[in-house]
Symmetry: C2
Subunit: 337 residues, 2 copies
């Protein structure tokens, strides 16, 4: 039996339409079986567009409920036992799928993953790791929002998990790990990063010290560690900036016919740039630290992002980064604080 | 006697050349007297380029020492009594100048301003406020690095100072104040922002709640408050992104002759965009909370940034935001924690 991935067909701003479309595209291109979890009556009609070979790779698993973006994850999980994210997680827990992908409520996916799959021994808190597009290719930034508070010990664990993921899934040999800080010097920063610095220096990691916000796009480090509050603000700031730039370009073009011609001629170049900055190209963000592959997609994901997230999930399973984390964490991280 | 501003001629990556050049440009355009503080033998030759009218607005005040970017501010201030930043601050303290501008070590300027000018009563910690370019014009973000740790009470004070500065100096009537957070909901965030949210809601401010990283460029709020660690990371991330985009555009253009023609035709539009994103257009960042106008410039400031910082300093003095903060803070901020 091939690789099977459970996809929450009902989660996300554009569900189920774009989610199913992304699944069909993935089924055309990739060798994997996709379990579409959700309301069969909502999913089935959308599969009409799939080719026969793609259709044979797509199965529907019924789930009658959906957890909305604005619901409290804890309450929703208690009440909605048949929610698509809960059923999808259960498929992984029971070994009927090897990975889980969702663009629905991040909080609900995190809670469902933690409850359903459990934490990896030695990890106190999981982290959401995202691929940051840089001039030197995609780099890994974590945590971008699993935790709004962190202790130095958490950052150390994030560093270990990120390093393993970068090596196993992103194919970066001996990844350089850095701490996101407000200065390069070891003495800079708040209590959290000062504490983490000392622990990272002693850890069996390729720790290259602090990087600042301005270094992130230049790819100086392969894995950049921060607390979830800082990471989330930075990630969304970057997204907002890209989207503001698009608006700005349109604004400027409106005012100049010559610039319009110019932009037309430069279209392939602009598209190349857009592609390098588009989060959808990089697929979803793995929730690291739980006992299973759980890929979190942006709520506004369209087909392309879903397809790429399925690709990321597939790679994650094939490279078996979960086993690598399970194997390398316990001995490495001493209970220091 | 006209308005007098002390300019640290020796501070910054491009000092004294670009600093003096910026002073000359400001003296050509603005009605103000500039006191160039530093080594006369280094400054004097650079003034040869000034017109007679500009020259009459430029004076040299001797200071024999310079604090380097990488010196410990506390140690340097103790040792170098005749450092340019110390002498410039003293000019303000003694009423011989009404404002101080420097592109030198931020830490040294902060320490010199705190020691020399003192804190405004009711303010526990000063904050560096920077203008963030957005689709709706410049907005104020603070703190961007004066403190790497903060308490809810500090964020409340930053909000008051920022609101007064936005109104007095930036000319924004009844400014909208927001808290930088990882979600819009009141229940989101870490201990710091959760504590600050409650205080801001009760304060006599136009508090509009939380904004996320992605909102920053869309100008939803006029004053955005955060701790200095988050603010500094975000600020530098934005700078890095702009600089990475420039590199990326060059890269893409190298590969396509048609894109080169396109870019040529779009030059005015590109330049318009560049201008909207260029920090140098917005001048320096005020250090809010000290008893005097102290404008911090980017270490890599060139003439244009210095000229604009002098303009910002002049506006600050003319609008007398210091008095406005002194007047409005004490009654407003109750010692809650």
């Amino acid at each position: 039996m091939g690789l099977r991935i459970a996809l929450d067909a009902m989660g996300g701003d554009h569900a189920p339409g774009e989610i199913v479309k992304g699944a069909i595209e993935a089924a055309e291109e990739l060798d994997l079986q996709i379990l579409l979890v959700g309301r069969p009556d909502a999913i089935e009609p959308l599969l009409a567009e799939a080719s026969a070979s793609a259709r044979s790779r797509l199965d529907i698993v019924a789930a009658s409920e959906v957890i909305a973006m604005d619901e409290s994850p804890a309450t929703a999980l208690r009440k909605k036992k048949d929610a698509s994210i809960v059923v999808a997680t259960r498929l992984v827990k029971e070994g009927r799928a090897q990975a889980l992908v969702s663009a629905g409520s991040t909080g609900a996916q995190m809670a469902a993953s933690l409850l359903g799959l459990g934490r990896i021994s030695g990890i106190d808190r999981p982290a959401i790791a995202t691929i940051l597009p840089t001039l030197e290719g995609g780099k890994l930034l974590l945590d971008v929002g699993a935790n709004s508070e962190a202790k130095p010990r958490n950052l150390l664990q994030f560093a270990h998990m990120g390093s393993i993921y970068a090596e196993k899934v992103m194919g970066i040999a001996n990844p350089r790990v850095a701490l996101l800080n407000i200065g390069e010097e070891e003495t800079k920063g708040n209590e959290l990063v000062l504490g983490a610095y000392g622990m990272l220096r002693e850890a069996p990691l390729r720790f290259i010290g602090n990087v600042e916000g301005r270094d992130l796009f230049f790819g100086r480090a392969d894995v950049i560690v921060c607390d979830g509050f800082v990471g989330n603000v930075v990630l969304k700031f970057g997204e907002g900036m890209v989207s503001a730039l698009k608006t700005m370009i349109k604004d400027e073009l409106k005012n100049s016919r010559m610039a319009q011609v110019g932009a037309f001629l430069a279209t392939p170049a602009l598209r190349g740039m857009g592609k390098r900055l588009d989060y959808a190209e990089y697929g979803g963000a793995p929730l690291l630290g739980v006992n299973g592959v759980s890929i979190i997609c942006h709520g506004s994901s369209k087909a392309k992002a879903i397809k790429n997230a399925l690709r990321v999930a597939r790679q994650g399973v094939q490279q078996n980064f979960i086993a690598a984390i399970q194997e390398h964490i316990p001995g490495k991280v001493e209970p220091v604080c």
